[in-house]
C-alpha cells in the first residue's frame, strides 16, 4: 500500500567556538566545494591499485547509514514514508542534489536525481563524461535503504544506470538486495 510523505527534516546545527567545529546532531560536518568532490571522484576512477570507486561508495554508505539510523532513532521516525522523506531531505540539505525515491521495498528500489552536486560540479569543472561517476550517491542510496529497512551496511547495491554527467535529464539508480 502506498504511503505518503509528511515528515520534515529538523537539523540541530551548532558551532563550537572552542574546537571550531560545526556539528549537526552531534556529527562534525564540513563544507567542501565541487572541485574537491570532482577531484576525489577522479582520484577514485584513476586509482589502479585497488577498487577506489567501490571504496568511495562504501565510505559514503557507512557514513549515511550511520547518520540516518541515528536520526530515525533519536526522532522516533518509524514509517517507511517518513524515513524516505528524511533521506531525500538530508540529501538536499547536504547540497548533494534533489533526490526522489520512486520505489522502495525490502529487496529492490528505484531512485532518480533531478539535480546532482557530483554530476553538475563535474560538468562545471570538466564538461560531460561518458560514464556514470556518482559513487558518493550510490553509497548514500545503499546507506539510506539499509537505514530505512534496519539492515547492516552492504545489504544493498545501488547501480547508476543513467546519469546527468553523460547528458541525461536526470540520473537513475537501481537498488537490489545483496
Amino acid at each position: 500500500m502506498t504511503q505518503y510523505r509528511k515528515t520534515e527534516l529538523v537539523l540541530n546545527k551548532t558551532f563550537d567556538p572552542k574546537e571550531s567545529r560545526h556539528r549537526i546532531d552531534g556529527s562534525t560536518v564540513v563544507l567542501h566545494c565541487h572541485h574537491y568532490t570532482a577531484l576525489y571522484t577522479q582520484l577514485a576512477m584513476d586509482c589502479s591499485m585497488l577498487d577506489a570507486k567501490a571504496l568511495m561508495s562504501e565510505c559514503s554508505e557507512d557514513c549515511w547509514q550511520d547518520y540516518l539510523s541515528n536520526y530515525y532513532k533519536a526522532n522516533g521516525i518509524v514509517s517507511l514514508a517518513d524515513r524516505i522523506a528524511i533521506g531525500e531531505q538530508t540529501y538536499a540539505a547536504a547540497g548533494l542534489g534533489k533526490m526522489r525515491v520512486n520505489s522502495a521495498g525490502m529487496d529492490s528500489g528505484e531512485v532518480t536525481l533531478e539535480h546532482s552536486h557530483v554530476d553538475e560540479g563535474w560538468i562545471k569543472k570538466w564538461g560531460k563524461h561518458d560514464k556514470p561517476i556518482n559513487y558518493i550517491t550510490a553509497g548514500f542510496i545503499a546507506g539510506l535503504f539499509a537505514a530505512v529497512f534496519e539492515k547492516p551496511v552492504r545489504s544493498y547495491t545501488a547501480t547508476e544506470i543513467q546519469s546527468i554527467v553523460s547528458g541525461a535529464a536526470c540520473s537513475r539508480f537501481n537498488i537490489v538486495a545483496r
Binding site: T28, H34, L43, C47, A94
Partner: protein
C-alpha cells in the same frame, strides 16, 4: 597583523549554508556541499592504508592536490565575496598579508581547522599551526606514524598561491601550484598541534 580573528570567526561562523530547491548550495563561485567529516576521513584513511607502500606518496599527492585546487578556487571565491567584504575587508591594511591571516580565520570559522599563521616571510614561506582539525579524528587512540592532514596541506599551499602566485586564473593553468606544503607535526601523531610549512614549489 591587523585582523581581529575573534571578530572574523564570530561573523563568518554564523553564515547559514543550506540547499536551494534543487538541493544544491551555490556560493562563492562554486557548488558547496556539507557532508559529515567522517566520509572524507574514512575515504582518505582507507585509501592510504590500502595502497601498496610504494604507491602511498602518489595517493597522498592526489589527496593534497584535491584540496589544493579546492582551496585555490573556493579561496578566491571567499576573498571576493560579499561576506568577506563585510566582515574582513575593513580590517585589511597590509596586502596580501592581512588577507592571508583573514583567510585562516575563515578557515577556522568554517570548521576546517582551528588554525593560524605563526610565521610568514612574504612571498617565501608560511608556517601554520592547527590546534584542532577534523582530519585528526581518524586516530582515536594512541599515535599514528602517518600524518593525515591532506586537506590542510593543500589549502595552505593554495592560500599562498592566491597571495603570491600572481593573478587568479580560473583555469588553474597559472597561479596554482606555485607553492607546496609539508606537514611537520600532527595531532593524529601525538603532537599537541598540527604544523604545516609552505614554501615555493
Amino acid at each position: 597583523m591587523n585582523i581581529d580573528r575573534k571578530q572574523v570567526i564570530s561573523a563568518m561562523s554564523r553564515i547559514e549554508v543550506q540547499g536551494n530547491e534543487e538541493g544544491l548550495i551555490p556560493g562563492f563561485n562554486v557548488f558547496v556541499n556539507m557532508m559529515p567529516a567522517h566520509f572524507w576521513n574514512s575515504f582518505a584513511e582507507r585509501l592510504t592504508r590500502r595502497v601498496p607502500a610504494d604507491m602511498l606518496e602518489a595517493a597522498e599527492f592526489l589527496l593534497v592536490n584535491a584540496a589544493h585546487e579546492c582551496g585555490y578556487h573556493t579561496g578566491y571565491g571567499i576573498i571576493t565575496s560579499n561576506e568577506w567584504k563585510a566582515a574582513v575587508e575593513p580590517m585589511i591594511k597590509e596586502v596580501p598579508e592581512d588577507i592571508l591571516h583573514g583567510a585562516f580565520a575563515v578557515f577556522t570559522a568554517w570548521g576546517w581547522a582551528k588554525s593560524e599563521i605563526v610565521e610568514l616571510i612574504p612571498g617565501e614561506k608560511m608556517v601554520v599551526r592547527a590546534y584542532d582539525y577534523y582530519e585528526s579524528d581518524g586516530v582515536e587512540y594512541g599515535a599514528s606514524s602517518k600524518k593525515s592532514a591532506y586537506m590542510i596541506r593543500g589549502v595552505s599551499a593554495a592560500f599562498m598561491d592566491l597571495a603570491y602566485g600572481g593573478a587568479y586564473d580560473p583555469s588553474g593553468k597559472t597561479g596554482l601550484r606555485t607553492f607546496k606544503c609539508e606537514q611537520t607535526k600532527g595531532i593524529e601523531c601525538g603532537d599537541e598541534y598540527g604544523e604545516f610549512v609552505v614554501t615555493k614549489a
